[in-house]
Structures are given as structure tokens and as C-alpha cells.
Symmetry: C2
């Protein structure tokens, strides 16, 4: 199964594709969606949608895993991040990709085993789990972590179902 992980951000949105074959996780692709800074906000929001549609049409993931957000620094930040998540959810549903949401705590616990892990600790663990020695931006490794979290969660559900 191929999972698209998304780490939504109003300045940079990370994405990461992780497959699982025979119980082994593997890196497929990853990167970040960003824009020239003076772009109008509505153009940036559309770019997140159109980039995710392009990624989905290129790699054909079955499921999308996205960070759920309940807290924000303030109302202004919450509004911005809401727009980004909205664009990502529209892209997934539009392409017929199932959506799964995980809190930052669930993602960190699932990948690092510790809910208060730093972004650097998450990146180190992502590299270890996917056997990668290239360098990633923290946005990309966060997105890969969301995808890994979903793979682990599904495995856990499989175990429970036995």
C-alpha cells in the first residue's frame, strides 16, 4: 500500500510518499510545496490543491494521511492553517483518495515513541525507518512521518482484528 503523508503549513506544505511491501516500509518520494513570497494568499492555497492533485495523479497513493490540528498560536494562525488543510482535503476527495487524520502527538508517538519529540528527532527516526542517508527538510520528514504513522496505525488495527 502507498500512503501520501501531508504536513500542512501556510508557508511550506510538506509531502511524503511511503509504501509498505511485505511488512517493510520504503521511501517513494518527498518534498515541499512552496511559492514565491509575494503571491496572493488565494493563489497559494490553490497551488497547494493543484500540487497535491499532480502528486496523486503521478504516484496514485491509495490513502492520504494528514496532520490534524486542534491548537494554534492564535486565531490568525488557525485561519491560515485551516485554509491549507481545506485545500489538501479537497484534493484528496476530488481524486478519490481516502483521508486519515492524526494528531501531532499520535504521529510522534508512532514514529519516535515519544509524544514530545523534536522535529529533528522525528527526522532522524524517519531516516532510520526508511533506510535513507540523504538530507531532508524538516517539512518533508514531518510529512513522511505522517505517512509512516498511518502505516503503523493500520498494522495495529490489523493486529487487533486478528
Amino acid at each position: 500500500m502507498l500512503v501520501l503523508g501531508v504536513d500542512p503549513g501556510s508557508l511550506v506544505t510538506g509531502y511524503g510518499l511511503v509504501k509498505k511491501e511485505g511488512g517493510t516500509l520504503g521511501y517513494v518520494a518527498g518534498g515541499k510545496i512552496s511559492f514565491p513570497h509575494p503571491w496572493p494568499f488565494h493563489q497559494r492555497i490553490h497551488r497547494i490543491f493543484s500540487s497535491l492533485v499532480e502528486i496523486i495523479e503521478t504516484y496514485h497513493p491509495e490513502e492520504m494521511s494528514i496532520e490534524d490540528i486542534f491548537f494554534a498560536k492564535n486565531v490568525k494562525s488557525a485561519l491560515k492553517i485551516g485554509h491549507v488543510r481545506g485545500a489538501a482535503l479537497v484534493a484528496a476527495v476530488q481524486c478519490g483518495v481516502k483521508v486519515f487524520e492524526y494528531t501531532p502527538l499520535q504521529i510522534k508517538q508512532s514514529v519516535v515513541g515519544y509524544g514530545r519529540a523534536t522535529k529533528e528527532q522525528v527526522r532522524a527516526m524517519v531516516k532510520l525507518l526508511l533506510k535513507l542517508d540523504t538530507q531532508f527538510s524538516l517539512d518533508t520528514s514531518d510529512a513522511l512521518a505522517v505517512a509512516i504513522c498511518h502505516h503503523n496505525w493500520v498494522r495495529f488495527e490489523d493486529t487487533l482484528a486478528v
Copy 2:
């Protein structure tokens, strides 16, 4: 010129199409986008996008006018309304419709002449300006008001440009 006004809401999103011909405003269509309550949030967000795309493809408005939001009751409300606005902005850009944003204060001042007008006062004024005697939901009249505000604003800009 035909303008699509949008009043974004996470439970109900109003829309209203207002044309201007020879300096006269005219009602074209209006209504609200809502959903069965137990629908998952991501399906509701996508429904707002797909409904707006359908409305744009049916009526071909040149411009979309949408309520801008800077305040919300709390972070949770801001996140929700952000998703809705994100879906609406993606629909407009995807269909090549120009986006214009107005604050609630600008809309009320433009339509009623008083920035703290109630929704009922806005509806009464919308009915008067569009010469309508049918009853509207407050979501629909708010959306028509956003479209009227944009028509008035464009007129004001035309005047300035002379």
C-alpha cells in the same frame, strides 16, 4: 458583470449571484450549500468546493466576492471557517474566476450604510436593492450582500479612476 457572492460557514455556506446592467443591480440566483449532519468534515469541505464549481460552471460569473475573516470566537471556529474559505478559494481559482475579499464591516457599510447592522437589516436592504419580495435565508441574503458590496466597490473604483 455577474458576481458570485459567498458567505462561508462550516455548517451552511450561502451563495448569491448578482448582475449589474446599465447601472442597475439584478438578482440571478441564490441559495445555500449544506449537508447531512453526520457527514465527515472532509466530505463537507469537498462538497463546498464541488458545489461552487457547479454554480460557476452553470452561471459563469466573472468575479467572486467572499467575506474575509480576521476574527473568530476561538481557535476551533477559526480552523473550521479556514477550511471552508480554502475550499471556496480553490474553486474560484480552479475555474479562472477572480477573487475579491471584503470584511463584514465593509459589506454592511456598503449595503446598509451602517457597519454594525444586524443580519435581518442586511436581508431587508438586499431585498430592497434587488427588488425582491420572496423570503431568503439569512445565509443567502448575506451572500447576496457580499456580491452587492463588490458591485458597489467596483463602481467606487471606477469613479476614482475618472
